[in-house]
Amino acid sequence: MDYIGEQLIPGMFGNFFLALSFSATILATTAYYFSAKDSDDGSWRKIGRTAFRIHSLSVLGIFAVLFYMLLNHLFEYHYVWQHSNTEMPMRYILSCFWEGQEGSFMLWSFWNMVLGNILIKTAKDWEGSTMTVVSSVQVFLSSMLLGLVIFEYKLGSNPFILLREHPDMVNMPFTRIADYVDKIDGRGLNPILQNYWMIIHPPTLFLGFSSVMIPFAYAIAGFWKKRFNDWQKPALPWAFFGVMILGTGVLMGGAWAYEALSFGGFWAWDPVENASLVPWITLVASAHVILISKNTGKSVKTAFILTTVTFVLILYSTFLTRSGILGDTSVHAFTDLGMSGQLLIYLIFYCVLTLAIFATRWKYVSGDKKEDSINSREFWMFIGALVLLISAFQIIFSTSIPVINKVFGSNLAPPADPIMHYNSWQIPFAIIVGFLIGLGQFLKYKNSDISKFWKKIRVSLLIAAIFSATIAILTSNTNYHYVLLFFAATFAVVANANYFLRIMKGKISKGGSSIAHIGFGLILLGALVSTSMSKVISQNSSGIDVKVLGSDFSNHDNIMLFKNDTLQMGDYYVSYSNKRKEGVNIYFDIDYYSKSETGQLIKAFTLNPLVQLNKTMGNVAEPDTRHFLTQDIYTHITYADLSQIEAPATGKSGYMEPKEKMLAIGDTMFSSNAIIILHQLNTSLDKAEHELTDNDIIVGAQLHILKMNGDIITATPLYIIRDMMVESIADSIPDLGLKFLFTKIDPESGQIKISLFEKQDNKRDFVVMKAIIFPFINILWTGCIFLIFGSILAIRQRIKTS
């Protein structure tokens, strides 16, 4: 049938660019391969360059086309339909772009393309060999977007496939409507991704992934062309660039989790988080060993191994997060798009390539004849790199449990308490690394004078020791792991600050590594303090004791707040005052009060955690955090009754169906706003008042009504037998919207029956929320800034000297 209103031209352009980018990069790889041979007179290189330029332009073309489609809401394209809709704010259009696998592969290949072009400009005689590697990586990435079916095997997933042609949509009712395009809206962007961090976190992370490729290309090129001692120098700035960008990307992910996700913290050792942290750790190790290797001419093989392992780990992480294998263990892994085979080939190809090159070349690499002195900087840097490697191994091994299950057919589940599991290993590693960072700068290459060395560091050691001991005593912290880590991290900061100020004389241009190391020390410190001392202040302190239920659960974590009630939380008094709907979001006003010296409550601030209504993907709650210099107060709605918003209640004045219960003296029953206790039965009431004769009977059930704030009021519904007829006289408490009726006496058990009526509008609005204080989390963010700034300085210096 003929469809009306479809825009097919952008798709044609898109597919043309996809095909062009794929073929051009195959040509570039081939041409650069031959240009790297000594026999080339420059003509192969010319072809390689031209091909890579064409490839670059096509990648930009693909980008532009998809962007155009998203911007114009062309829902006839599956990717646009799947990841965006018209309701969504346009500022998140970039998040839509990289929400899906195809978009994120595009982002990755975009950065590779950019870095490739920089390499063409800067690599000089390395161009042929390194660009062979870069172009080959682009062959793999471009193939992920092809969506070609070859011998019943689907190669890649095409971002420009039409909605009606997508395999999931075959024979759907809408495909029989000619003008379906005018009638559909997209499925929309996952609400948890509608966050500013999600605009910048993926590009940063993928730039980090891409920058790992450059040292890898140099390492492969160096071994391929047998220039074993030359590749380190040009690779080094790239390695530190990668450390900076990938590190920033990982931390941005943490910041997003902290701001927008509900697990209350910035790091949870989730498999997806681990998958990008691990290559960063090995990259740090690799960058430092490349540095040793460049400065001493030694450790060439280790530098090669670490650099290639880092690249392979990036591919492995990609495989973990995109093959669907983490499905049962992580909340934010992608599902399988049928590309796991292709990803695996990608991974295996570079493993085999690396091993092959290493195997054919290792005998040419001159081994290190003389052992490093134990007093040398390179020895301890090397040890540090090994500690990092083993730390990465521990994380990736535990994260790979689903892979182990698949390979060995075992049935292991991830650790029940992952945070404990990872911390018990990673804290000791962090302690060692912290100390090494502090010591390293004061050691000299080859050999250092040990007595001078001690003289230089003892002040820092002393300051750090006194400071940590004081803090440990003040906070009465007895966890020696924490105390030691605190000591190590403080030492790293103090020693590097000392080195920078006294030895570098505060010269910024040369202080890059000191500043970056201070930053890393601060990150360790901030992470330690904010997580180990974080405090859940939303302890259930409402008047109702849950122990009545005989439950062995804790009352902690979540607290219920009725509208306009005020409860104490930590040093604050917290009140839920309002909720309002803006667009798809429902904002809650949670007011925090502090108590003045005179005992008055003064409003300190209001937080607006929200719940985003999303019919397609489920409602999502987003926390709100108040940032102070010394602490953050995090507030998150964990449960809210949204029925009123979705379907407003009508006729609120009447009473609801009564709740009936048989009570003995001392028994309790609950209303939505109070606890009712049968205090006693009163038989000595004044009969005349009710015009009763002496033969009649009157009994009053004296009920104690315990309000939320602890006040007790009484109500006395009456049970009367007048002329052998039973009569009940209700008692009501208008303030609480409660009415009681005493309807029956059971003489055998001594129990009486009470009917409890509640006003309809008694269903008071409430929220269940969680509030956590994270102390000194700003140390962590300050550390990030130092790390980035220091890295930039160090990279600049490396580029200058090379």
């Binding site: 009712p173 379906y180 134990i374 589940a413």
Partner: protein, 138 residues
């Protein structure tokens, strides 16, 4: 012995330690029956919510207790008490991964990983719903 050898041996020792600890700390996927037999051990049970039976969440009494009935993969039903609030859209969940142990015939669970159709990804089901609504609109 060279220093590098010592370092190498140490690394291998730590690596083996890491592997052993991972295997020791790792939990197991189990059914309710297996969990009932070993009440002292925490298991991961994969199952789904029994949507026929009610769920119980009374925040006014305790916001930290939520109970429901679930089937495990073998189809056995068990009452589950979760120490926490009722998760958003729990009714819509397709699959539950529950971590906990059995106490008095009840699966007491401290962590739930919930899979909703297309919460993070593409679910066939959701596609149909959207497409149908579209048709109904026209």
């Amino acid at each position: 012995m060279k220093k590098t050898h010592i370092a190498g041996i140490l690394i291998i020792a730590v690596a083996i330690g890491a592997i052993i600890s991972t295997i020791q700390d790792s939990s197991t996927y189990a059914s309710f029956a297996q969990a009932r037999e070993n009440p002292s051990i925490e298991f991961h049970v994969i199952g789904e919510l029994n949507k026929e039976k009610g769920m119980d969440y009374n925040p006014e009494i305790n916001p930290n207790v939520f109970s429901f009935y679930a089937f495990d993969k073998e189809g056995e039903e068990c009452k589950v008490i979760f120490n926490g609030t009722k998760p958003q859209d729990f009714e819509r969940s397709e699959q539950l991964v529950m971590l906990g142990s059995v106490k008095d015939e009840v699966f007491v669970c401290s962590k739930i990983l919930m899979k909703c159709p297309s919460k993070y990804n593409d679910g066939q089901e959701e596609v149909i719903i959207t497409a149908n609504t579209t048709e109904a609109d026209s």
